[in-house]
Amino acid sequence: MIFTIASKDLKSMFASPLAWVVLTLVQLAAGFLFFKRLDDFLQVQPQLVQMASPQGFTELVAVPMFYAMAGLIMLIAIPLLAMRLFAEERRNQTMVLLTSAPVSMTDIVLGKFVALMGMLLIIFALIALMPLSLAATTRLDYRFLAVVILGLTLLAAALGAVSLYVSTLTGQPIIAAIGAFGAMVLLAVLGDQLAGNLEMRGLSVLAALAQVFSPVRNFATLSRGVIDSYAVACLLLLALVFLALTVRQLEARRLRGRG
């Protein structure tokens, strides 16, 4: 049932121009970044060869590109792709098709979440193709790359769940997108600041708690190529919390009625 809903939502994403516009923009940005980084790398390569343990293509081109793309995906792609998932169903009064069917609210939410993640994974795969296209001519650190992509996927899951939740709060997709954008900025700036500040003052327990709400910090850890299990747990926890809140919000609306 989750996949029935997911495939329906993926299909309708591709039926609207928005998905294509987002895909195009992300590809353009990734392509530009990739070539810029690659060009810089080729210029410094002669000096790198003389170093004792030189950084390679993966560290200097592929990973920084992913890192830079994460910001763009987080601030633009996720809010835009998630905005319609619930807000549009509410505006067009189509949600009742799903809520009248023998499907639990959890399945509906997970279906939409899977659709969103599917779309984001397509974007990540297309970005990953750029460094992979050079696999024949250069040595790639696949393990490092895999960890970074894992980090990006977890970051997307956490922020996707936040955006999904915001989408249930309004019947206007645009408001949902702006709200999700605001939530992203809040989590990126405030969450990070808070965790950093608490850590500096030596309040390690509070800092660890605040780290759940600073997905960027957790992603940064993973993008160094280290699977930090606490960072992974924090990202997963944030995703779970907001998925649960989404289900709760929709159930509450059924109790409250009207809108």
């Binding site: 049932m1 039926a15 067009n92 009742v96 098709l97 009248s100 023998p102 639990s104 059924r254 009625g257």
Partner: protein, 253 residues
């Protein structure tokens, strides 16, 4: 203790609701109503605008939680096991829930999937719904491009594609032309033979033509319940229109 709904009384009952109440703030939109529907029956649901008909239908289909009362569908408690109970319901809300960027066939296939029609039977179920609702010529058109009447019919098709025991239709003939109305009435009558139907409408002759029983709501309360046959007998010469006017006129808030 909510009023309990006994399932032993009549095996033929497909829907039972007891003491159903829905409050918004202090106002009761639906106030302590009882409903029973048997297999092979079409129930007409009447009432002036704002009487609580649509709210009642939302309650009966699990789209809105009641403030008090109990609902059972084919003996399954809707509030306790909503997923199992909803499998027996087909619902056309006031605004048909249609995805405008799907074509009619795709949409009905989606509706069949959502209602857990087994894979092997799905194509047959969709074809049958298309046939019954007269959608054969438009089955490959996008729903967004269809006229209001056709969209309404897609809405009805969506409600019956999984052959539910209880079909709940909120003003099913709105926006249809006279020929379509006649077809849809015949369809509802046909559905009423094997399944059971609740329909709300403002067209009183429609109720007299296709319903077995009629219930009238006014200001959230059930003010009249009778069979059409008894109604015709008692008010020989008089009509449903007179009954309706007597019960609801002049006191609309």
């Amino acid at each position: 203790m909510p009023p309990s709904v006994s399932s032993s009384a009549a095996a033929a009952a497909t829907l039972r609701a007891g003491g159903l109440t829905r409050r918004y703030g202090g106002v009761a939109a639906v106030d302590n109503i009882d409903l029973e529907l048997n297999r092979g029956e079409v129930l007409g649901f009447l009432g002036p605008n704002g009487a609580g008909k649509s709210t009642t239908m939302q309650l009966l289909t699990g789209n809105l939680a009641p403030s008090a009362g109990a609902i059972s569908i084919c003996g399954i408690d809707l509030l306790e096991s909503p997923v199992a109970a909803k499998a027996h319901i087909g619902y056309l809300p006031e605004v048909p829930p249609l995805y405008r960027d799907l074509n009619v066939g795709e949409f009905l296939d989606l509706a069949a999937r959502l209602h857990r029609v087994p894979k092997g039977k799905r194509a047959g179920a969709v074809t049958r719904a298309i046939e019954r609702c007269g959608l054969a010529q438009v089955s490959r058109k996008l729903i967004g491009t269809l006229s209001k009447g056709y969209q309404q019919r897609v809405g009805i098709a969506q409600a019956i594609v999984h052959e539910p025991d209880v079909v709940i239709l909120d003003e099913p003939t709105v926006g249809l032309d006279p020929n379509q109305i006649r077809d849809i009435r015949a369809l509802i009558r046909e559905l009423g033979n094997a399944h059971s139907v609740i329909l709300s409408t403002h067209i009183l002759p429609e109720v007299e033509a296709i319903c077995d029983r009629v219930q009238i709501m006014h200001r959230g309360k059930m003010v009249y319940a009778n069979t059409i046959a008894a109604l015709k007998q008692r008010h020989c010469g008089g009509s449903l229109e007179d009954v309706f006017a007597d019960l609801t006129r002049g006191e609309n808030a």
